[in-house]
Symmetry: none
Subunit: 382 residues, 4 copies
Amino acid sequence: MGGDLRFVQGNEACVEAALYAGLDFFAGYPITPSTEIAELMSSRLPQRGGRFLQMEDEIASICAIIGASLTGSKVMTATSGPGFSLMQEGLGYAIMAEIPCVIVDVQRGGPSTGLPTKVSQGDINQARWGIHGDHAIVALTASNHQDVFSITVDAFNFSETYRTPVILLFDETIGHMRERLEIPEPGGIHLVERLKTSVREGVDYHPYLQREDGRLPMSDFGGVHRYNVTGLFHDMWGFPSENPRVVHELMRHLVDKIENHVERMTRYREYYVEDAEVLLVSYGASARSSLHMVTERRQHGEKVGLLELQTLWPFPAALVREKARHAEFVVVVEMNMGQVLLSVKASVERPERVFLANRVDGTLITPIDIRNILRLIQGKGV
Amino acid sequence: MGGDLRFVQGNEACVEAALYAGLDFFAGYPITPSTEIAELMSSRLPQRGGRFLQMEDEIASICAIIGASLTGSKVMTATSGPGFSLMQEGLGYAIMAEIPCVIVDVQRGGPSTGLPTKVSQGDINQARWGIHGDHAIVALTASNHQDVFSITVDAFNFSETYRTPVILLFDETIGHMRERLEIPEPGGIHLVERLKTSVREGVDYHPYLQREDGRLPMSDFGGVHRYNVTGLFHDMWGFPSENPRVVHELMRHLVDKIENHVERMTRYREYYVEDAEVLLVSYGASARSSLHMVTERRQHGEKVGLLELQTLWPFPAALVREKARHAEFVVVVEMNMGQVLLSVKASVERPERVFLANRVDGTLITPIDIRNILRLIQGKGV
Amino acid sequence: MGGDLRFVQGNEACVEAALYAGLDFFAGYPITPSTEIAELMSSRLPQRGGRFLQMEDEIASICAIIGASLTGSKVMTATSGPGFSLMQEGLGYAIMAEIPCVIVDVQRGGPSTGLPTKVSQGDINQARWGIHGDHAIVALTASNHQDVFSITVDAFNFSETYRTPVILLFDETIGHMRERLEIPEPGGIHLVERLKTSVREGVDYHPYLQREDGRLPMSDFGGVHRYNVTGLFHDMWGFPSENPRVVHELMRHLVDKIENHVERMTRYREYYVEDAEVLLVSYGASARSSLHMVTERRQHGEKVGLLELQTLWPFPAALVREKARHAEFVVVVEMNMGQVLLSVKASVERPERVFLANRVDGTLITPIDIRNILRLIQGKGV
Amino acid sequence: MGGDLRFVQGNEACVEAALYAGLDFFAGYPITPSTEIAELMSSRLPQRGGRFLQMEDEIASICAIIGASLTGSKVMTATSGPGFSLMQEGLGYAIMAEIPCVIVDVQRGGPSTGLPTKVSQGDINQARWGIHGDHAIVALTASNHQDVFSITVDAFNFSETYRTPVILLFDETIGHMRERLEIPEPGGIHLVERLKTSVREGVDYHPYLQREDGRLPMSDFGGVHRYNVTGLFHDMWGFPSENPRVVHELMRHLVDKIENHVERMTRYREYYVEDAEVLLVSYGASARSSLHMVTERRQHGEKVGLLELQTLWPFPAALVREKARHAEFVVVVEMNMGQVLLSVKASVERPERVFLANRVDGTLITPIDIRNILRLIQGKGV
């Protein structure tokens, strides 16, 4: 690879990846530990011909990127927990109106203002359920900067492919630590561009009429076609409808377009899984400690393995069930009260064998923490 | 009972109950299908000497009641899904600062503006997870107006007892249908009043120092004690802290004060559960159809029963596991894509025996719908 | 293959196959949706030197072919449900007297005159149990015209091999739809010819004395041997007997000659069965929709498979048990109230995992129908 | 009881019960072992003012009683296996047109003419499945003459209540043996009379419009209302319809009106069931031998019990499952190749514990036969 080599924070890796993916428009309100993303964007994006807007708050931020996306732009905002809570209403609108956009949540300790620059992974289930009403969502994460880069590009690709908001759930440790990043050559990673409509000017365009493959081509708002966009349940013209059949079909479409493509959206890494008697399941900064612990214990002959999830939603249940099939113990390692734990328990054949190794005090869970908890789980005492 | 007999909407039953419970302050922004609550409050509450404020939006509404509660008032707001999404940040503050308040969400179809006056039960998991960061929550519901009344009183009682926001999750059908309500005599239902501090004026008051029983007595803000209130993790003085031990203890306190009292907060009804081979688990308007179906099929000798949940959060897992122990089929009846289903599956011994009977098109699920789905589940076809 | 290529109805494929198999004699009373079989036979069979008789009703039809078969002819009749009901007494005679014959039932909606030209698969269990008294039966079906052809040839082969009536259970959709059929070259499919007796003229012939391999060679009735044929229990001479030992042996012979050869008579197709988590079991037109659904969902990574049964009786229980062993869900797809469902449930290790996806309103079950029912079965709701 | 005491054949008990139930019309073609029923009817029925018709065959017989029933009469025919096969088409018409009638099948050995005056119970599954197309059926039996009497009255009552054919499945032993019968006083057994319509002359009568309780009041054909009766699927006017919704609803109505009332139609007797380690399940003449064996072995302290089924269809699955719950062995005792065995296996929790004790040679199964088979089942050898 002849790529550009850098020593960066995770937040910077995310910014570079967004630019690589073709970002046109960023609107945001800075909040630690995501601040560097807005800061870097304010200089880097205009250099590339894109637009950066500092908004008055997070509600304005999500609304601005939704509007910009409708006109044909690739868009992004970045925030942390408190701002993410404020964005839930706008996010629901983007889901209902099927507008591509990428939202970064660099997690810190919550709830409320919580722990501004301390690490946490406490927003995982909010990413899934924070919006009122049934819906599906895509949320991705990563544990190192090379993966932060590629998963950020994936976020844009998924967003454009499925016309859906995609959430990037990083954490304070990943956002702020520095490590090597090699930026790929242009063309090194496939980029998905928006599917434009082939309906010509002067001909009726049905903004919510699916093609045979289920996809909805878009026409740039303000362009040659006039059409309706709404947060209400709507028909193929985009006009509101309360017809139960229309409502049911739209609901199923919004859910199925995500849930039925779980395999295509599943990104993960695995280490020593095949013969693992103890399988760690982790993600983000927690996965770094997990990997360290696994590598170290393997040198002592312990059959420990790690499944690192990068796709958190739609939850890769089939993958987890398959990888966990032969393990005697499954230990979810995360920095919250057991949020991914719930999904893992719901996915495996023997939920009574799933345990939690966690830390919720704003400090990074360590390999020693994990090993100590594992001893207790195995009945070996403290 | 010599109570006052009325023929009211569910929204009106909720208003009367709040007044009965001693409501002092209501702030809200009307939104269907909860509008009647604000409308009735605007006349009924001032008659009792309370304050009604029409706010500019839902963020203002939740913030207003939090402030009013701090001064010693019993407070409430009411909204539907879109407004509930906007309240998530404020709700997190109330959780972190441990401020009693009651929030009514009369659910309609979502996400986004969705289906303004059509029934749904799509906000159940948002009530649990809509706030960023780990936390616990109390959420209650009911399927008839007498229960709407008593569960609303419970909401105020739990809120004051545990210094926590309590969410009332009604649905459009319950909110708008009319049926008989008998308002109990004053004193007929026990009311919990706020636990005031016994610390006297001039002496240091530690607003977040727990008593031996874990409760935190409050001093009216603006009164004789000066103290700090924050959304940040904090010590017993209410001042921000990043000390991991302090953070960990506060996190566990916020979760444990709810989760450890699940039994005291569990409200439910059961019908023919004892010998039921098919156990329906339902709540709200869905439970009405479930009850009709169960009663009708019992007349034909079918061993069908119903467990109607009124407490949705903290989820009464032990109760559900116990009641489902001898059932061959457990069918969760709800008007969403299977939200309580997830909790039921996580609670029972044989999750593969748990099925979903649902409807997500804005129309009420009927007894016939349930029976038809039951046939399919039982392998009997259409 | 240098075979003759045609674009035909299923009924025509059946006619061509019967001619290919060496049909000598056809007697029938036309009834939709089987009418084309009699119609085509009336011209095609005489061209080949065979005899076609239009009878006054279905009782006469079955009796005519039984008589013709006794004289050494390969025989067939065709009808639909109402006519098939009328043939039950004659069928029982053919079983007791061990007379080869092929009966086609192109199923329509029943009971009674029911739905004359609408699809159904409601006669499956009648084919097994429509005759009074214990007995065994052979019944075959197919889902495409190439298989209609080969299974029709099988029907004649089984009939001659085991001296038994064989029922072809097609359905209206298969009977009337047109698709490509390649008629094999003569000799392309092995044909079983009747086993003639080696007993010479003038020597006593025992029509019901089994050879060592259990088979009964026949002498053409009206030929060189005189012998008795009866519907009563009988000895090796064909004369009536009430001797309990004779009765018991004949009963066991009639059942065992079919049931003990289930493996040789089992015809089926399988698609993606090996790793299927959801196994569909289907046949006839329902199997077409099942195959479509399986192929489509495999493209989305869903582990769905299809076992298409062509032999319905004797029921291939061992095959079904083996194929279903690793499936989490077994779904029988058929157009009736669950007739093959009963046999599948009786065959598998975990009958509680067997479900029904069906349609009973005279319209073809579609891939979407199957998928929707599958969702409910999997507890995913509507 | 001051009833009339007699010493009669089972066939005679059946005749007396039909007269007691209010039989108006009998048409039949005599066949052993049911001949005495027609013979006695030919003299007894006209004495009471009823009509007896000797028909030319069984098809004519079933058609005659269907026509007579339509005019408001209580009707019956009687036959044995071969005639019962011929009646299947007419039976299907009676099911589709919902015409009350009672058909007696005094079983002999089959298939075909089989064993004219030897005992068998080989028509059980034919009674369920002999008719083409999906349907439900009622079939009853008894093991002693007092029960033959009361179950025959039940047959008329069920037939009138549910507007359905009811089949009485006796066997040669019950039909021909003589024992004591006490005929109850008039009024001693409740009789169900036909539900007449309350629609007056000159007003449109909808012959297939259900009342709220699901029942269809009848107007005597040839009377004041003109209406259509057909074997085709039909609407509430009785006119043919291919509308899928109409078809589905009629199909479900025809099945549900029987299957959903299984408890009301379940007749059975039990002996020593409560603590039985070995539970015999039997019916008809086989139940006599079973009862003898159970009574005798109880005197030796063996924990054997008997569940005697009188209602065979709709099969009382819930009853059988309940009674078999605590038994280590369930042994179905019957005189066929295991027909009720299939239903028992499909009903119980542990089908691998269900065994068959049978006899199929035209002689009555004896208590010794049952005991010998039981030893083998229990692993005690011959």
